[in-house]
């Protein structure tokens, strides 16, 4: 009887275990990177071919090779203008998400607070961001402040909504367990709610990473003489089309870098998600 009992766990473990599950995963991700690189290269080649075959003038649209030339010819102007955008993007990302998480925690623990503030947050969200930008520039001047504020504003809402959902996504039986253990509200938060919400938080952060860059660039269109947003406008007016495309490439690279960073952090802070969801 006892021997049979023991045999079950040891036989079941390798089948569901990490080593068996992860190796093919790693092969898969290498394959996926190769495939996506192939896709991008194919689109670039097609683009170059279309431009050459139809003889599109370079002030209308740039070829991939012209974009590469622009990137190599003007690294300083791109870098000088990328820096403020990086500061605004990360500043807005941090400010917007921290406020969203704090308010979401407040919502979950105080219904009155939620009923007072949630409609307000939704209303602010409905205001078009391009309309708010000039207002914030008037209020906050032309430095970093209004850009960070706009980037924060645009990241705030998705994180708030996801975080409220995440903090409430606790299994009812797990809440009963906490009750039977006479856990305080703080202990329920610390041992159950916070960690339950992390996958939701990281989904929101991935959205926020690209959104906050968008916010910073839009903010720079209004009353700014530096930053990638400013450079986009300047290059457009001067018909420096290759530089315009190069600026977009830099902006895209920034968003990708932030997105990648969030994904790496997610793998570190939410490791159980990879080994396959919640029990039960």
């Amino acid at each position: 009887m006892k021997a049979a009992e023991r045999a079950v766990p040891s036989a079941a473990a390798p089948a569901a275990g990490v080593p068996a599950g992860q190796m093919p995963d790693r092969d898969n991700s290498a394959r996926r990177v190769a495939l996506s690189a192939l896709g991008i290269l194919a689109v670039l080649a097609l683009w170059q071919a279309v431009m050459v075959v139809f003889k599109v003038p370079h002030y209308i649209a740039a070829t991939p090779l012209e974009v590469v030339d622009a990137l190599r010819a003007q690294p300083v102007i791109l870098a000088i203008n990328a820096w403020p955008t990086i500061v605004e993007t990360i500043g807005g990302f941090v400010v917007g998400n921290v406020i969203a998480v704090v308010i979401a925690i407040g919502f979950v623990h105080n219904r009155t607070f939620q009923h007072t503030v949630y409609p307000l947050a939704v209303t602010v969200r409905t205001l078009p961001i391009v309309a708010i930008s000039p207002i914030l520039v008037l209020l906050l001047g032309s430095g970093y402040a209004p850009k960070i504020a706009i980037a924060a504003l645009i990241t705030f809402f998705p994180t708030l909504v996801n975080m409220v959902d995440g903090l409430n996504a606790v299994d009812p039986q797990a809440q009963e367990l906490m009750h039977v253990l006479s856990a305080t509200k703080w202990e329920v938060f610390r041992y159950l709610r916070w960690t339950t919400s992390l996958p939701y938080l990281f989904s929101a952060l991935r959205i926020a990473s690209t959104a906050s860059l968008l916010g910073a660039i839009v903010a720079e269109w209004i009353g700014s003489n530096r930053g990638l947003g400013y450079l986009i406008l300047a290059a457009t007016y001067d018909y420096r089309t290759p530089l315009l495309y190069a600026t977009m490439a830099v902006a895209s690279a920034l968003a990708l870098a932030l997105f990648g960073l969030i994904s790496v952090l997610e793998g570190y802070f939410v490791p159980w998600r990879r080994t396959g969801g919640a029990a039960g």
């Binding site: 766990p9 079941a12 473990a13 990490v18 039977v180 253990l181 006479s182 041992y191």
Partner: protein
């Protein structure tokens, strides 16, 4: 300890439970009077959705009864809960997926800093050994089978040394073979720790095999239809399931259930 040592493990007096719903009142429990002695293994048997789990939640102080009295070891269920006189095992294992098996078992000791202020039944490691999971201390729940997860849940319920163990269809979601094996394990653990167990099930065979007494409940609103003493000796052996006595108890319970429905 404000719970009384020589009081009955559980006393229910005319317990009733109704929920107010938008389209009327749903009566789930009616006039439940029951006494469970300390050290007893009692099963609550009834059709699905009859209110057995609700009754367990009244005892566990998760739901307050709308009428009647409930007492655990002579104290209120709330008092019993605060002093960890109650342990609970749910239908699902309800393990925290980010914690290892050992950390899951140790969770009750961390909450309220209980482990530092009281004497636990054993270390999480010792309890994992008790439920037959030695060597799986660092496994995450997702790496364990359903039966193993439920063993972890049993170890967690026992870690703060409760006098009364409440089990809400703990093996209902498992396949028949795993379920039989865990029934064996549960009886082995029960004879080792000698705690009062209240076990909710809708399996007649499980109820007969495990229990000293089986409380047969009617469909909603649940009332006690009959209490059957299972006069089979412990330790129980799987081959007892083929004896005429076992069959007779099963038939008696089945008859009581059919009369109830």
């Amino acid at each position: 300890m404000s719970v009384m040592v020589d009081a009955p493990a559980i006393e229910l007096g005319d317990v009733g439970m109704s929920f107010v719903l938008p389209d009327g009142v749903l009566e789930v429990l009616r006039g439940i009077t029951l006494t469970v002695r300390q050290g007893e293994f009692v099963s609550l048997l009834g059709p699905s959705g009859c209110g057995k789990s609700t009754l367990l939640r009244v005892i566990a102080d998760i739901l307050p009864p709308t009428r009647g009295r409930a007492a655990v070891l002579g104290a209120s269920p709330a008092e019993a809960r605060r002093t960890r006189a109650l342990g609970m095992v749910f239908q699902q294992p309800v393990l925290l997926p980010w914690l290892s098996a050992e950390e899951n078992v140790g969770l009750p000791l961390r909450i309220g800093n209980w482990g530092a202020r009281h004497r636990p039944a054993g270390t999480p490691d010792a309890l994992l050994r008790l439920v037959g999971l030695e060597g799986f201390n660092h496994a995450r729940p997702a790496q364990l089978s359903g039966g193993m997860q439920q063993r972890v849940a049993i170890a967690r319920a026992l870690v703060s040394d409760p006098k009364v163990l409440l089990m809400d269809e703990p093996f209902g979601a498992l396949d028949a073979i795993t379920r039989d094996r865990l029934n064996e394990e549960l009886l082995r653990i029960w004879t080792q720790v000698r705690r009062t167990v209240v076990f909710v099930t809708h399996s007649i065979a499980e109820a007969v095999y495990l229990s000293m007494r089986v409380v047969v409940m009617s469909p909603r609103p649940a009332r006690i239809r009959r209490i059957v003493e299972i006069d089979l000796p412990y330790p129980r052996q799987p081959r007892m399931k083929d004896t005429p006595e076992f069959t007779r108890f099963s038939a008696e319970l089945r008859a009581a259930l059919e009369e109830a429905s």
